[in-house]
Amino acid sequence: MIRTEEMLLNVGPQHPSTHGVFRIVLKIDGEQIVEATPVIGYLHRGTEKLAEDLQYTQIIPYTDRMDYLAAMTNNYVICHAVETMMDLEVPERAEYLRVLVMELGRIASHLVWFGTYLLDIGAMSPFLYAFREREVIINLLNEISGGRLTFNYMRVGGVKWDAPEGWIDKVRDFVPYMREQLAGYHDLVTGNEIFLARVKGIGKYTKEEALAYSLSGANLRCTGVKWDLRKDEPYSIYDRFDFDIPAREEGDAWSRYQCRMAEIEEALKIIEQAVEQFPDEGKIMAKVPRIIKPPAGETYVRIESPRGEIGCYIASKGKKEPYRLKFRRPSFYNLQILPKLLKGENISNLIAILGGVDIVLGEVDG
């Protein structure tokens, strides 16, 4: 008779595959995971507490540090919340610039996910390709905002900088280039048998579970829910673009991969149209008072970030600082389902499942 004993295994917080500082306490029986307990908070910086002493414009750089892989959407959500409260109309040119940078950011974010996820499960070269293309985007965003990751680009009522000379043409040229590379990724990875064996049927959940766990983004769409706030609750000027919401039915890591790759293609479509419709001139800032004081009351807005639904709640007392600021951070909500997914799994699938959720720890910890 072989006697087995449960063992406690600590993964992280300093573990490369957690993409940050994330810890999981695993109870394992042989190679089976009996129980997984995520421990978070290692990157908690108290953004919401800090924001209570800051003016609205001063908060924007803090949002860059939440989801640092797609900071443009974070920038946007707080600006959008304040604009909603103040009932501001943003100039058209600013809206186009916002859409362009947000969609470029979405692609960059998905590229990082694609590269690191494959790195996690043992494929080295896709990482190098993905980061090569991401570098092009980062350079574009650097050119317009002056930052590679923490842009601090948007303002309440518009954007800080206009597009430099020739920038729009560079973005235009980027689209066919990225399409070509994307086809290359599919050749390299998508049909690969080893890859498929690692992701097919792994980390599966149903549509009902996804909804119950408040999942959003590709984590929700992979179960067949066609839900994208850009389409279903259009904000900014997203109602002017023609694009699809990629969704799959299976609800496993493979379908999440497919969704994200298809989203890159959709983002390219939006960029293509935005460049074509881009107004030749116009203001990039609305008329905004120097000190922003939204009316007393509260608001909650939500938009679609690369990781899912990012929301911003502001309670204002009519002062220049928010009384209470709260971000609905998609990674934080999406990660909750992890203990359920890991239960009973083989330990070798741990990283494949965790990576498939696509979290950014800066956002989880807030």
Partner: protein, 470 residues
Amino acid sequence: MSDEKDKDLNGTEHGEENESNDAETLAEKKTRAVAEAKAKAAELKKKREEEKVVKAGQAEEETQEDAKARAAAEAKARAAELRKKREEEKLAEADEQIESKEDAKARAAAEAKARAAELRKKREAEKSVGSDTVDDTATAKAKAAAAAKAKAEALKKKKEREQAVESVVGDDKASAKAKAAAAAKAKAEALRKKKEREQAAESESGDDAASAKAKAAAAAKAKAEALRKKKEKAAQAGSDDDADDAKAKAAAAAKAKAAALANKRAKEQAGGGATDDEKAKAIAAAKAKAKAAAAARAKGSKTEEAEEEKPSPNQPLLNKYVKVIKEHLGEEVLEDFYINKLAKHVPTLVAKPETFYKLAEFLKRNEQLAFDFLSELHGSDFETHMEVYLYLYSFQNRQPVSLKVKIDRDEPSVDSVTPLWEGANWPEREAYDLLGITFKGHPNLTRIMMPDDWVGHPLRKDYEQYDVEV
């Protein structure tokens, strides 16, 4: 002629230099000087002309090379260098040309649009419309067509809005009457809306036929169709908004404004067409785009007005929620309910602490409401009280609601909603950690952000950091 003189001068200068440096024969000096001068001339020519000239120059140089080896060698090298550079430039140019041919359509459309936009701005500034840019007959025709189309569009919109206004009046009266009539009202409204929609669809299709006659290419047409659909949606949404407008006056004003806008658009469209090339495709593309812009504008201005006028587009939603809740749970469950105008008009329900869970459960399980998605849960410290804020969404009805509960600040405690939405687990832990709100029935209510041994709850307004040394 003067060029030749220059050459000679240059030649003699070089010759003198060479004489003083090394001992070459006079003939050699001369030939070399000539060759150099020729090379320079060729360079100049090349600058003005293109590849052909370069080639000719090269041929010349080559013959020189055969005759006078050393002198020509230098010139040739230089010419070759230059040629290379030119060729590269030419290649790049050719590449660009090919590229531009590839997406000529897109570019043309963009250009057309840009021109239209430019013109629009000019027009707006000068306020002198259309009179200055009448050109040839072809463009005039296009302009007329565009204007007619835009007019038809404006008319259709006007009709739609009128219908909407009608429904406003009726609806308002009904709502002013007894609550008992509410059910009947809803039915009637549904019918009216249905009719409206049908009518809209009809007028839409009529317009479609008209536009089919237009010159627009097949591609442009398809695009326009898609746009129209989008617009139809927008118009419907707009009419929904209007249905709740109390002041018919205001609606009329809005209507007039929108009509004026459409008119303006039409003129602008015509202007855009006038400056365009005779390419029908480009014109069609520009038209489609201008239309899209107009639609977007119209939509924007509409929602703005809806916000200015008091009754919210979501008022019927709120009424529905409240009615269903009161029918099933009694009058006492709700402390308050209102439309939060600052949060995109989300219907907001305020529950009493003791009925909070019951209400949340009802919102989720009731078949009519079915709020199956918890989008957000957090707490706030308002100094007079604590508040838990939930933002729920129903995927079945595609409707949001926000649910709030005000609780005692000294001993904040409320039922956990984790049995209803598993997604509430971590957010409730966060609220507990940062605000000290206790959620009764939570499976694992421990700190999540702060370390386990932390003292106090940082997001409370009276929080002071605990320091061991003080």
